[in-house]
């Protein structure tokens, strides 16, 4: 068994997802971590990494898939994060290798047995993969990060791959808040927030939480697309998820099934999110949220 993991990095820094997927992948065998050269130092200190492969990684999926295909030969498993970048490249790589990929894995039951959710998380499939190679993506939120120190060997490689695609613009959401898909606490807002999304950020700020939103609020232009939580947005698995003015459509619930505790504030006690919440408050969020913040202040809660 030998595993090649594609690190998740942005602007030369590893994202919190990397330590989690390395932890998952380490269950399969010794991990070689492919990383952009800029993040190589950070990568070699990650516990669970056997060797770092550092390269000037291509920015687009066509070239990255080609590179991974070239590197694939000695590995039994090739693993990436089940986020937008991993979802872009893993299936393409799998097709190049003539392998059926297994993606969005939430549990590794053995080297060739995996669990993955289907139907917006309303069912879980256990699949066994008897192919010669396994091309996989892991949901970072389903695995705990590796802990400990390391100083893995770094091998520099200079891949020769070409892209037929040019990146001509990027718009980055600027935020002080922690990364959503791996955050310990998430506070999300629904459509009633309208242009008062700052209220969600206020409560999140108090709790050291990441912020999220429903598709309805993103569609309405009141929150950036990368904050959408759900079947077609980001998957979160915090210890605490606080939903403000969110009905709890099945596509939204798909994104929060891994949450340990779900808290909700809604004027409608019958809203599906209220029905599944561990703690529910029937109230107008515009009145309740400032009062919640005031009480948190009184209790001296600050993270």
């Amino acid at each position: 068994m030998a595993v090649l993991v594609l690190a998740d990095a942005d602007l030369g820094r590893l994202t919190p997802a990397t330590a989690r997927i390395v932890a998952g992948a380490a269950e399969l065998g010794p991990v070689d971590l492919l990383v952009d050269a800029a993040a190589a130092e950070e990568a070699r200190s990650l516990a669970g990494v056997h060797r770092v492969l550092a390269a000037a990684l291509p920015a687009t999926a066509d070239a990255l898939a080609q590179l991974l295909a070239v590197l694939a030969e000695p590995y039994t498993h090739i693993v990436a994060a089940a986020n937008a970048s991993g979802r872009d490249v893993i299936p393409r790589l799998a097709a190049l290798l003539d392998i059926q990929p297994v993606t969005d894995i939430t549990a590794i039951l053995g080297p060739t047995r995996f669990e993955r959710p289907i139907y917006a998380g309303n069912a879980t499939e256990t699949v066994s993969d008897g192919q010669a190679k396994h091309v996989l993506s892991l949901r970072a939120s389903a695995f705990a990060a590796t802990v400990g120190e390391n100083s893995a060997v770094v091998s520099n490689i200079s891949p020769e791959v070409a892209s037929a695609t040019e990146v001509i613009a990027e718009v980055r959401t600027q935020s002080e808040r922690p990364e959503l898909s791996t955050a310990q606490i998430v506070v999300s807002g629904g459509i009633p927030l309208g242009d008062r999304f700052a209220l969600v950020e206020d409560l999140a700020g108090k709790l050291g939480a990441a912020v999220g939103a429903t598709r309805a609020l993103v569609d309405a232009g009141h929150a950036p697309n990368d904050l959408q939580v759900g079947q077609t947005g980001k998957i979160v698995a915090p210890d605490l998820y606080v939903g403000l003015g969110i009905s709890g459509a099945l596509q939204h619930l798909a994104g929060i099934q891994g949450a340990k505790a779900i808290f909700a504030i809604n004027t409608d006690a019958e809203a599906p999110l209220m029905k599944i919440a561990d703690v529910a408050l029937v109230a107008d969020l515009f009145e309740a949220v400032p009062a919640v913040i005031a009480e948190l202040d009184r209790l001296g809660i600050k993270r």
Partner: protein
């Protein structure tokens, strides 16, 4: 300029599915079926490009049982010109679907292939990328805007950090996200009228493409039930419950 758009028939997205008690799959009997929502955005994008004079022909293709003719008729009613059903009752993995679509692409020689970014049944999010890999074409997944000019596509994508815009030459593959457009609704009369448009059916079995599954689905299980929650009466109690929850958290 020819566009191929792939559409899948799935259990309607509004239906909450149930897992069969024997763990062999989900209940599908007597459920409303419809076009995968993401594919509706893909069809809409194709039709708008045609309406803007940027495409002359839209071919909609679906792979599945005879009943998948439904979703092809919907695509035709939305504005596609011609339909093609690759008929099979087999349960197909995404690699097989991509190989079948490559076969269609080799025959039809489209300049652009549009697909939904994922299907809401298996939630795979594979086929566009796999097809692009098999054809060796550039890809732009999770598209929220598409522009065509001078034989190139400029596509804005929804990504982890926000949005990214890519430019690539045609032929290319684009997968649609939900904010790409607002798909038009087509009523039954329009679907009936679409029956006059050409719609060909071919058997998957005759194409000589290996569609044997590579994976074994051992079981399908329902999600675990969440414990019964409680209702608190005041924002202060809600805040106290948050504080208690934080008190239980382990550092991570």
């Amino acid at each position: 300029m020819k566009i191929l758009v792939a559409v899948k028939r799935v259990i309607d997205h509004a239906i909450r599915i149930r897992v069969k008690p024997d763990g062999t799959g989900v209940e599908t009997a007597n459920l409303r079926m419809s076009m995968n929502p993401f594919d509706r955005h893909a069809v809409e994008a194709a039709v708008r490009l045609a309406e803007a004079g940027q495409a002359d022909e839209i071919v909609a293709v679906s792979i599945g049982p005879k009943a998948a003719t439904d979703v092809l008729l919907t695509a035709l009613a939305m504005g596609a010109h011609r339909g093609l059903l690759l008929e099979t009752d087999a349960k197909l993995e995404t690699l097989a679907v991509a190989k079948l679509l490559r076969h269609v692409a080799d025959e039809e020689k489209p300049d652009l292939i549009l697909l939904g970014k994922q299907a809401v049944d298996d939630d795979s999010n594979h086929v566009g990328q796999m097809l692009a890999g098999l054809l060796g074409w550039p890809q732009a997944t999770f598209a929220s805007a598409i522009e065509l000019a001078d034989g190139q596509a400029t596509v804005t994508r929804e990504v982890d950090f926000g949005r990214q815009t890519l430019r690539m030459s045609l032929p290319a593959i684009v997968t649609a996200d939900l904010r790409l457009n607002e798909p038009r609704n087509v009523g039954l009369p329009m679907v009936m009228k679409a029956k006059s448009k050409p719609l060909a059916t071919r058997a998957v079995a005759g194409l000589g493409i290996d569609i044997t599954p590579r994976l074994v689905v051992e079981t399908v299980t329902p999600p675990r039930e969440r414990a019964q929650g409680r209702v608190v009466a005041t924002p202060a109690e809600f805040a106290q419950a948050i504080a208690a929850e934080i008190g239980k958290m382990e550092p991570r």
